[in-house]
């Protein structure tokens, strides 16, 4: 009868709180330098300690530059303080920090799985909305604000209302060249950017269980763009194989015992959900966004739709004006100024391998700035060991150090006003990648093919 969500939630309820909330045990807290210092300093100022520093972690990913030879100095005005204060606060609190130069540095949602910090059945919170990425391991992982992060650090728990549940079942077989990113964009385009509002969403069905581990992370990563509380996938052999031997994962007899417990983390056949959505992936195509919300996306080659709701006509027109596009226009062939491969959505080794397979032996179109930013230092090393860096560099891509980089604009490096960028990231909001920058989000394959063609193109 219980769903996977019921099992994850119920196994973490410490106590019922008056008024219907539950006190939920938090197994892991992950910070980054954008907000880590704010949370830790505020905690210290209130005279509170981190309850269990061994289960809290921090990474430098958001503010730190991704240029080779980087240091604490960043292009973002005032950025250095975020780095040095987070470092000092993490040290004072006894929290393991994956710092600049650390072989394990990288984007939180890439590093945490890589090191086995996230595991099936855990609760993990981070002051970052894409924490849902880690739900791919059959965990409850969600983004919180700074004060909730302080709460989790100080008490090992959070007070929460139980969110409603949803199952999104993906049936059918994904056509070649269509990816988890396209599945997510197709779902959000069909049901709106608020379509999953506040729900704990289980991604299920044969097309999900057929995804490789890194693709599952891509799918769960986009749950927050669907306004979900979080997204997750039942763990299976794919999950266990991927995690086995990672640093913070259990080993030996404890591993066997853990896997035995994790096998129970599935929705029972008669589980009930507050909402259910079914998507057949068999006729999905690569998706690309045309507007300033991830819901404003179409299959490559399809025209920008005429407004038909939901939402407002004004918002639709505003998005078109911002993007410099018109209804009925096709995105294929639209000239681009830049191409960006990176972010917690699509910067893992398999993402880079698929992009490199398209780029190999070809050249980035003249006048296009193309950048690859590996999601972690470990991904960067693994990619270099396979020669992917040479493929990208020879084609004319910049090959960067790992981090969030130009996934978001914090006042430092940006693509610039009016520049049209195709990007493997998750947000195409106004000015997300630079003041006035026009972002189109798509899979790494589509980004790579577009970089080569100088315009939005199919892989």
């Amino acid at each position: 009868m219980p769903s996977l969500f019921d099992k994850l939630w119920d196994s973490h309820v410490i106590a019922a709180m008056p008024g219907g909330a539950s006190l939920i045990a938090i197994d892991r807290v992950f910070l980054h330098e954008r907000t880590g210092a704010a949370a830790l300093n505020s905690l210290a100022a209130a005279g509170r300690a981190v309850a269990d520093p061994a289960r809290a972690f921090a990474a430098m990913d958001h503010i730190v530059d991704t240029f080779p030879g980087r240091s604490d100095v960043t292009q973002m005005p005032g950025g250095t303080a975020f780095i040095t204060e987070t470092r000092a606060a993490a040290r004072a609190a006894g929290i393991r920090l994956f710092d600049i130069g650390d072989p394990d540095q990288g984007i939180v949602h890439v590093v945490s799985p890589e090191l086995g910090i996230i595991l099936p059945g855990l609760t993990l919170v981070a002051p970052d909305s894409h924490s849902c990425t880690q739900g791919a391991f059959g965990a409850l992982a969600w983004g919180i604000g700074t004060s909730a992060a302080e709460h989790a650090l100080a008490t090992g728990s959070l007070r929460l209302q139980r969110p409603p549940s949803m199952r999104v079942s993906f049936g059918g077989r994904l056509p070649a060249g269509v990816t988890a990113k396209d599945m997510a964009l197709a779902l959000i385009a069909a049901h709106g950017a608020a379509g999953g509002q506040g729900h704990a969403i289980e991604f299920a069905g044969p097309a999900v269980m057929a995804l490789a581990m890194e693709a599952r992370m891509t799918l769960c990563n986009m749950a927050t763009e669907f306004a979900a509380f979080t997204g997750f996938i039942a763990p299976d052999a794919v999950t266990f194989d991927w995690l086995h031997g990672r640093r913070y994962a259990p080993s030996g007899a404890l591993w066997d015992r853990a896997v035995a417990a994790w096998r129970g983390l599935v929705s029972d056949a008669d589980a009930v959900f507050d909402r259910e959505i079914h998507v057949d992936v068999s006729d999905l195509a690569p998706m690309v966004s045309w507007g300033t919300s991830p819901a404003q996306a179409v299959p490559l080659g399809a025209p920008i739709p005429v407004f038909s709701g939901p939402g407002s006509r004004a918002a639709h027109d505003k998005a078109l004006a911002y993007m410099g596009l018109a209804e009925g226009q096709s995105l294929i062939g639209l000239p681009i100024d830049a191409a960006f491969i990176g972010s917690c959505t699509n910067s893992r080794l398999s993402d880079l391998e698929r992009a490199a397979a398209i780029v190999v032996g070809r050249r980035v179109a003249a006048g296009v700035r193309a950048i690859v930013v590996p999601g972690s230092s470990a991904v960067k090393r693994a990619a270099e060991a396979r020669g992917l860096d040479r493929i990208f560099i020879d084609a004319g891509f910049e090959w960067r150090e790992s981090g969030c980089s130009m996934c978001f604009f914090a006042g430092g490096e940006s693509f610039g006003a009016g520049q049209r960028v195709i990007s493997s990231t998750n947000r195409n909001f106004e000015s997300r990648q630079g003041l006035g920058t026009r972002s189109h989000i798509a899979s790494p394959e589509t980004v790579a093919a577009s970089a080569i063609n100088g315009c939005i193109a199919a892989a």
Binding site: P18, A38, P127, S129, P250
Partner: protein, 198 residues
């Protein structure tokens, strides 16, 4: 440390777009310090100013009378996007105490309550009436009612959020009253799931 909220009477600024994300509420580039203050000038910075901090006369909060509005009426999914609590801090520092919308992004709603900003959910039809009102709105949290001249609506709020807003309670203090239950739960859990504890 959050501000208490009981009742509020104020003009409401309509900003009736859906998906007003946290980048719009406070652009990332406006989060210049590691602290929680000094953010009001960055509120809606991308919309509020023309160039270098010259107020855009067309933006709602710059229009006559709306500068002192303590309520914003918005479209669905308000506060989506980044989890940055700066969005709430900037709104409060500017003087906004309540946002009325058909729905909120979950992280934003949690952040709002934790700081004493009321995220007030109403259906679109009620919102259209409130947004068209010429005079001030009155929000009564104990009674869970919001009214304007000629109309009055009941709104839902969880008992937990209501208590927290009314009392301005610090949730960490509240939770630490349960420290013993947390310790017992963790001791049991160590037996059940020893691999969780590092």
């Amino acid at each position: 440390m959050s501000q208490k909220f009981t009742t509020l009477t104020s003009l409401a600024a309509p900003l009736l777009e859906d998906n007003i994300d946290t980048d719009i509420i406070i652009p990332s580039r406006e989060m210049k310090t590691t602290g929680k203050t000094g953010l009001a000038a960055g509120l809606f910075a991308g919309r509020r100013y023309l160039g270098a901090r010259t107020p855009d006369p067309d933006f709602i909060l710059n229009r006559p009378g709306f500068g002192a509005a303590a309520i914003i009426i918005a479209g669905d999914n308000f506060g989506c996007g980044s989890s940055r609590e700066h969005a709430v801090w900037a709104l409060l520092e500017y003087g906004i105490r309540a946002v009325i919308a058909p729905g909120f992004a979950p992280i934003f709603a949690g952040n709002a309550v934790n700081n004493g900003l009321l995220p007030l959910v109403l259906p679109r039809a009620a919102i259209a009436i409130l947004a068209a009102a010429s005079g001030p709105l009155h929000i009564d949290l104990p009674a869970q009612r919001v009214s304007c001249a000629g109309s009055d609506f009941k709104f839902a709020v969880t008992a937990e959020a209501k208590a927290q807003l009314l009392e301005g309670l610090d949730p960490i203090d509240l939770t630490l009253q349960h420290a013993a239950s947390i310790a017992v739960w963790q001791a049991d859990d160590r037996q059940r799931r020893p691999w969780v504890y590092l």
